[in-house]
Structure formats: C-alpha cells, structure tokens
C-alpha cells in the first residue's frame, strides 16, 4: 500500500477531488497548509513598503491506495492540479506498512 501526499494550489482542490473520484478513489484527507518550494516566496510592494511573502497558502491532500493503483492515482492528481505556472505544488508517495479500518478491524488493502 502507498500513501500519496499532494501539495496543491487551493483552487485546484475541487478539480483534483473530482478527478480522483472519477478514477474510483473516494477517500481522502485534506488539510490547510502553507509553505514554499523552489520559487522561495516572492517580494511584494504594498503602500510603498517592500516585504517578503515567504509562506504561500496551499492545501495538503493525502490518499491511501493499493500498490497497483499508486502510479495511476499520481498521474490523475498531477494532471488535474497542473496550471503550468510556478507554485503548482508537489506529489509524492510513501510506502505504508499497515492500514486498519477502525470500525470493523479489517486490515491491509481491504481497509482502504
């Protein structure tokens, strides 16, 4: 099993959610996040004063999938989240040792 973590532009969340649902993935966790990547924030001028915006608002989306679905799920997210401009985000996967559904106690891929 894999945990896919995606950092996205907030306005792309709805599209990514719909794309994942269309691909048969229904469960996900979404949280508010902020941070920066290679672009290192940016400098703004406001009412004459210059200041640096270093943390940009993003959403963090996490999805648990079976190994065989991981690659296609990543593709779905990347395709839906892309605008082609700086700050589109990142997607990564990490291996997951065990998953348990709390209500039933099911384990492994059955619990996804």
């Amino acid at each position: 099993m894999k945990l896919i973590t995606a950092i996205l532009k907030p306005f792309k969340l709805d599209e990514v959610k719909e794309a994942l649902q269309a691909a048969g993935i229904n469960g996900m966790t979404v949280s508010e996040a902020s941070g920066f990547g290679r672009q290192r924030g940016h400098t703004e001028v406001y009412r004459g004063a210059e200041y640096t915006v270093d943390l940009v608002p993003k959403v963090r989306l996490e999805v648990l999938v079976d190994d065989k679905d991981a690659a296609s799920a990543v593709d779905v997210i990347v395709k839906a989240a892309s605008t082609g401009s700086i700050g589109d985000g990142k997607v990564w996967t990490t291996p997951v040792e065990q998953v348990v559904r709390v209500r039933t106690g099911e384990r492994g891929p059955d619990a996804i």
């Binding site: 532009k9 907030p10 306005f11 709805d14 508010e32 902020s34 703004e44 608002p57 605008t83």
Partner: protein
C-alpha cells in the same frame, strides 16, 4: 405530556412511599410517626417527576431509634423500591446532621430549599425546612457567591443551551439547573425577581426533557442530534429546527433573567467602595437618561411620545459605557412601543441612525444590550425584519450560533475592524444584517440584498450608501469563495471580482465584512490560512481599482469667497430639526480650527461633520452639529461672541475643555481599537494629507487640531466626519510659510499626534 403528568408521577411516588412507611412503622420496634419522616427534596420536592428521574428523598429521624432499628427501618423502605427498579437517591439524617450538611454543601442546601413532607412527622420536616431557609437567608453574603461560582464553573463546562448543537437541557447555561438557581436566589430574599418571566421557559424545557427521556428510554439530559427529530415529533413540533429554536428562545430568557439578577444584586445601591447606600447616586448622561447603580436608566418621568429616540439613545449610551440598561426602563420602553406611543418616523432622524450605529459599534458590550432588546421584544418594533431570524437555528458543523446571534457576533468582530475602513457605519450596519436573508430555501445573499434596501432606507441612509450596503450583503461570501476556489494568478479572476466592486472604499468594506463574518462563524470556517488567501485576493483586486479613500478638499461657493475676502468674523446658523448647520468665516490664524472646535464643544454641540478651507486671509468653515439635550439655546450673536472670546484667550479655552474631559473621565469606558494616524505625501500637490481615524470622544477634534498647531503646522483644509461613535478626520496641512511637509516633518507631526491621542 406536561406539568400535570409530572405531578401525577410525583403523587404516585408519594403514595408508594406512604404505603411503605405505614407498613414499616408497624414492623420496626420503637418506630413512631412523631419521630421519623420521609421528605421529598429537589424536583420531587417541587412535586415534579420526569420519567427517568430519581426519587430524591430525605429520611429524617430524631435519633430515638437504636442504630439497629433505624437501619432495619430504612432497609424496609428502600428494598421494595429497589426491587421495583425505582431509582432512589436517599439520605438518612437527624435535624442537626441536616444542618451541618446544609452549611457545608451547596448542592444539599439547594435541594433542601424545595423540601416537602411526604409522610411521618410534619413538625420534623417543618423544622428542617425553617433551618434551611434560615441558613440560606442569614448567610446569603457567603452562600450567594458560592452559588455564583458554581454556576460559572458549570457554564464553562456545559456551554450555552441556546447555541449548542447538542445541548444539555439541565446543565447548560440557560437550562433547568439555572432555573433552580434563580428560584434559590429569590428565596434568599436578597432581591426580588419577576419569576413569571421564565414560567413559559421552565415548562417548555421540562417538557422537552421529559420527551427526551421517553423517546430515548434513558434518563440522560443531553439532547443529541439523533434524538432531536424524535423529540420534536413527540411534542408535536413541525420539525427539529422549530424545536431547537423554541429551546434556544427559552434558554435565552432564563439566561437574561439570571444575568440581570446577578448584575442587580452586585450593584444594588452600593458606592464605589462596595458600601450600601441609602440614597441611590445617579449621574445624568443626557436628557431623560442617567446612570444609577451601574445601570443606564431612562428617567421615570420621560415622555416617550415626545421623543421616539429615547430608547436608541439609552442603548447607544449604555453600550458605549459598557453598562446594561435597567430592566424596569426596558419594560417601560417596551410597553410604550406596544401601545404605539413612541414610533420612529420613516425615515429615521439622523440622531436615531447615529445612535443605532454607536450601539452596533460598541463591540462585546453590545451583545448584552441587543439580547435585552430581543428579550423585551423592543428590537422588533425598530427592526421588524429581525423577527424572521430570531433564534433561527443553523444546524451545521460550521456555525456555532443561531442566525440572529451570529449576526450580532459579526457586528462585534466588525467593531474591532472599524479603523481599517473609511465608512465604519456601513461596515457595522452590513455586519449586523448580512444574513438577514436566511430562513428560506432561496439564496440568502440575494434575498438579503433585496431585504436590506428598504431597511437601510428606513434607517435613513442615502441612496448611494444603500447601494453599497446592498452590494456588501449580496457579495459577503464573494471574497472568501473566490480566494479559495479560483486561481489568483489568473487575471480573469481579479477582473471578475473587480467588475463587481466599484472602488477601493467598497473593497476595504467587503474585506472587513468577510473577516468579521469568518471570525464570528468560528475556527471551522475561518483560519489564518484562509485569511491570508483572502488578503492576497484583496491586494490584487485593489491594484485594479481607483483609490477614493482619501477625502477631497471642499470647494467654496462664490458667496463664501466674497465673505472670505472681507476678512471679518461672520456666523450663520441654520436650524434643521435637531441639527444645526453652521457656517463660520473667520480671519485665518494658526490654530483657528481647534479654537472653533473647542468653542462648539463647550457650547455642548456635538460635531458630526465639518468641512473647512482657508482662502486668502480667512478660513471658511461649514459645521454640522447636534446639540446635546442640555445645551444652552444657540444664536448667531452668542456663538460670535464666544469665538471672539476664545480667540483672545486660548489658554482659558484649553482649561475649560480639560475640565469637561475630566468630568467625562468618571464614566466607565469600553475597549476600542487604537487610533490610526496616516500621512500621504503625494496625494495632494500643495499640501500633505494627515488622516486620523479614531473612536469618538469628548473634544477629539480640539485635541487633534491643538496637537498639529503645536507642531507649527498650518491646517489648510479639513474634512471631519463622525459616523456613530467613529471619527475620521482628514487634514490638508502645510508648513506655516506654505508648501507640503518633508517626509521627516510629516513623521514628526504624526508621531506627536499619535502620542496626543493615546
């Protein structure tokens, strides 16, 4: 379902206990009905039993039975009850033991206040009852604070019945335990309480609790989401929303009575050192309105029919001082409104509108006043639209409050943002009514925009202000929805928003309203993360709009220019029903603005707006002032003389104004946002602009003018606006010889001004 059923259940309990008592008397050696008794306490003592409630009993004895016989007596009563699966909460005590417990345990004495004989020695129960009442009354100084802290602790723990999604009917604030507390307060004899105000609430909450016990089959008092539909059906309500709305309304009436009772008790005829006074000290605030016992009161002989603004004036005064209004005053006002004796004209006069804005802008202090206006049904006479959202529940995870309370909370949040906008009155008004369109299946923003226009018109806003208010209500969700769901880098997103918003002034209003709405909704709907997205959007949209936030210098008429050329002092007063428009042409000199402002202040004329401009050797000033009800009669000659006098001796003027400020300083205050002083170097060609935004206070303009004069700077023009209790003053200043200030000089003047406003 109702009081009768609970009484029947209680009577059945009595009967059962009496039968057991009679048979036990015969079986136990030495048991005599003169020496033992069974008494009911708590709810059972009041003769009311819910299906799931315990039989709360006290077995009293005179200590004449041997220990063995006593325990056999008690067992013979309790075992049959336990066998019948009846829950019993019992204690076995002598009169002196009861006294000891009552002294030590608050809960015990509260139960004992409701003690009632079931069977056995009536004299014994009567003695215990007298002891309990005696203890409660004699030591009320110690016991009542004990009760108060237990309430506070419980309210903290259980939250507010009126606003929780899944409230505890007994424990929550405004619930049944609070009703018991009010009853105990009344029994202490320390204060008289109009108990009839909560009789409807008590029977409703008891009925809901009883229905909950029946449909859930358990004796728990927490009204869970899943039970609400069943309880509503059981009681014959249309749906759970109606049920929860009724529960909220009942809880609010309990809370209001409890709150105001504690307040009255705490401030009952005491001086500032806490000593009781024979004669109540009262301070007159304005005509017909005073402060006494730390409450704002409307004078007993005030004639509501002569002045329909008394109520609003009292509300604004109370909110701005952070004090409640006395219940008696509100009852008289409510009665006068019900009889149609004191209707506001349509549109409202200016001071009624200004007082409404001062009330809304008072921050947290406004909540208790608004709650009182709701409880006394006063608000519905002023704002009939409010009735449709009264205690209207919003049963979703985002909202903490009913619709009406949410709007009040939004206004509280908006009051903290008044320095961020140039029209605090529009912000506060829109905040208080932004969700007025809720309660149907229609889009509440659209419906709200349609409802707000006639309302704003009645309150007396101008047609351009009504347009802005409508826009704010219609688009109050625009910024947060766009910021989180649209690409801020896409120029089309920015254009789409900028197309809906006419100018920067409206954008800053909408931004402040979004923040206030979000903060009032709660952490589930508004986070720093979301706030930063919205701020980013606002910044980008702001760049696409024209800046109309800085007030422009006034233009003079030909006639005014001719007067100005004469170089003589002239005063013209126009009386516009409660408002004076005053034109003053005055030989120009440094400090002339603050001098005239000071004179007006001493004549008890409240400056609502002013536009002044220097031309040649004169300054032309147009003032709009509202006379204080205690102001002396005003005429042109008198004002002329007063200004002349002040020009001759500025130091005397300062002293007299300081004396007035000191007199005001004795009144309590509420926390308000700090004043803001901004300077704009490039916004005008021949002058530097200083903008001051501050909470209004006595002689504010005098102080601002005075501080600027002390910096050796000339005021060329001034645009002064007071909106409710918020003031915005824009000053075009130059160096004394002419020309704008250098950035360093501007900073220096601003620094001095900030210090003066502290």
């Amino acid at each position: 379902m109702g009081t009768r059923e609970r009484r029947i259940r209680s009577n059945e309990g009595d009967l059962l206990l009496t039968q057991l008592f009679q048979s036990t008397l015969l079986e136990v050696d030495g048991a005599d009905s003169d020496d033992v008794a069974i008494a009911a306490v708590g709810g059972f003592g009041r003769g009311e039993l819910s299906p799931g409630s315990d039989l709360d009993i006290l077995i009293l004895h005179r200590g004449t039975l041997s220990e063995e016989n006593l325990s056999s007596f008690v067992n013979k009563i309790l075992y049959p009850l336990w066998d019948k699966k009846i829950k019993v909460d019992h204690s076995v005590r002598t009169r002196s033991e009861v006294r000891e417990v009552a002294e030590a345990d608050l809960k015990a004495i509260l139960g004992l206040l409701d003690i009632r004989l079931v069977c056995g020695s009536a004299a014994l129960v009567a003695d215990v009852q007298i002891d309990a009442l005696d203890e409660w009354r004699k030591n009320s100084k110690r016991r009542l604070p004990e009760l108060e802290s237990s309430l506070l602790e419980r309210h903290q723990r259980s939250g507010e019945l009126a606003y929780l999604l899944e409230p505890d009917l007994k424990e929550a604030r405004g619930g049944l335990r609070d009703i018991t507390a009010i009853r105990a307060l009344e029994k202490s004899g320390a204060i008289s309480i109009p108990m009839e105000r909560i009789s409807v609430a008590e029977s409703l909450l008891s009925n809901v609790r009883e229905a909950l016990h029946i449909v859930s089959g358990r004796d728990k008092d927490k009204l869970f989401f899943q039970e609400q539909d069943k309880v509503a059906a059981h009681l014959g309500f249309a749906d759970a929303d109606v049920l929860m709305s009724e529960v909220a309304q009942a809880a609010r009436s309990v809370d209001y009575l409890l709150d105001s009772t504690w307040y009255r008790l705490a401030h009952k005829g005491k001086d500032s050192a806490g000593r009781f006074l024979r004669k109540v000290r009262s301070t007159t605030l304005s005509r017909d309105i005073s402060v006494a016992n730390k409450e704002v009161t409307i004078d007993i002989d005030a004639d509501f029919s002569l002045d329909p603004t008394i109520g609003l004036r009292a509300c604004a005064a109370a909110a701005q001082l952070g004090l409640p209004i006395s219940m008696d005053s509100l009852e008289r006002l409510s009665a006068a409104l019900k009889l149609g004796m004191t209707n506001l004209p349509n549109p409202w006069p200016r001071d009624a509108r200004e007082n409404l804005i001062s009330l809304i802008g008072a921050g947290p202090a406004m909540v208790q006043i608004f709650e009182a206006l709701d409880q006394e049904e006063i608000i519905f006479h002023w704002i009939p639209e409010w009735r449709a959202v009264r205690s209207l529940p919003q049963r979703n995870v985002l909202h903490r409050h009913t619709v009406d309370r949410h709007m009040v909370e939004t206004a509280v949040q908006a009051a903290a943002l008044t320095r961020k906008v140039h029209r605090p009155d529009l912000l506060l008004f829109s905040a208080l009514f932004h969700d007025i369109g809720k309660g149907t299946d229609e889009d509440h923003s659209e419906r709200g925009a349609a409802l707000i226009a006639p309302l704003a018109k009645r309150i007396g806003f101008s047609s351009s202000d009504i347009k802005t208010i409508q826009l704010l209500v219609q688009h109050h969700l625009l910024l947060s929805a766009t910021a989180t769901r649209r690409d801020l880098d896409d120029p089309a997103t920015i254009t789409a928003v900028a197309d809906l918003i006419p100018d920067l002034q409206t954008l800053e209003l909408l931004h402040a309203l979004s923040i206030a709405d979000g903060e009032a909704t709660g952490r589930a709907a508004w986070t720093d993360w979301k706030a930063s997205l919205v701020a980013e959007l606002v910044k980008r949209v702001g760049m696409a709009l024209t800046d109309n936030t800085v007030a422009q210098q006034p233009e003079l008429s030909e006639e005014q220019r001719t007067k100005a050329e004469s170089g003589k002092l002239s005063v013209t007063i126009e009386d516009r029903e409660n408002v004076y428009a005053i034109e003053i042409v005055i030989p120009d000199s440094t400090g002339v603005l603050s001098t005239v402002a000071g004179v007006l202040n001493l004549l008890r004329l409240d400056v609502r707006s002013a536009r002044t401009k220097s031309v040649g050797n004169s300054a032309v000033m147009e003032w709009i002032v509202i006379p204080d009800p205690n102001a002396p009669a005003l005429d042109e000659g008198k004002l002329h003389d007063e200004i002349n006098r002040a020009l001759k001796s500025r130091s005397t003027l300062s002293e007299r104004i300081q004396a007035r400020i000191d007199a005001y300083a004795e009144l309590p205050t509420i926390p308000v946002p700090d004043p803001i002083v901004e300077t704009f170097l490039d916004a005008a060609t021949d002058a530097t602009i200083i903008e001051v935004r501050s909470h209004d206070r006595p002689a504010l303009l005098f102080g601002i003018g005075d501080s600027i004069t002390r910096s050796s700077v000339d005021i060329r023009s001034a645009i002064v606006t007071t909106l409710g209790a918020e003031a915005i003053d824009t000053l075009y200043v130059t160096e004394i010889g002419g020309g704008p200030l250098t950035p360093e000089r501007a900073d220096e003047v601003a620094l001095r001004l900030r210090a003066a406003l502290k």
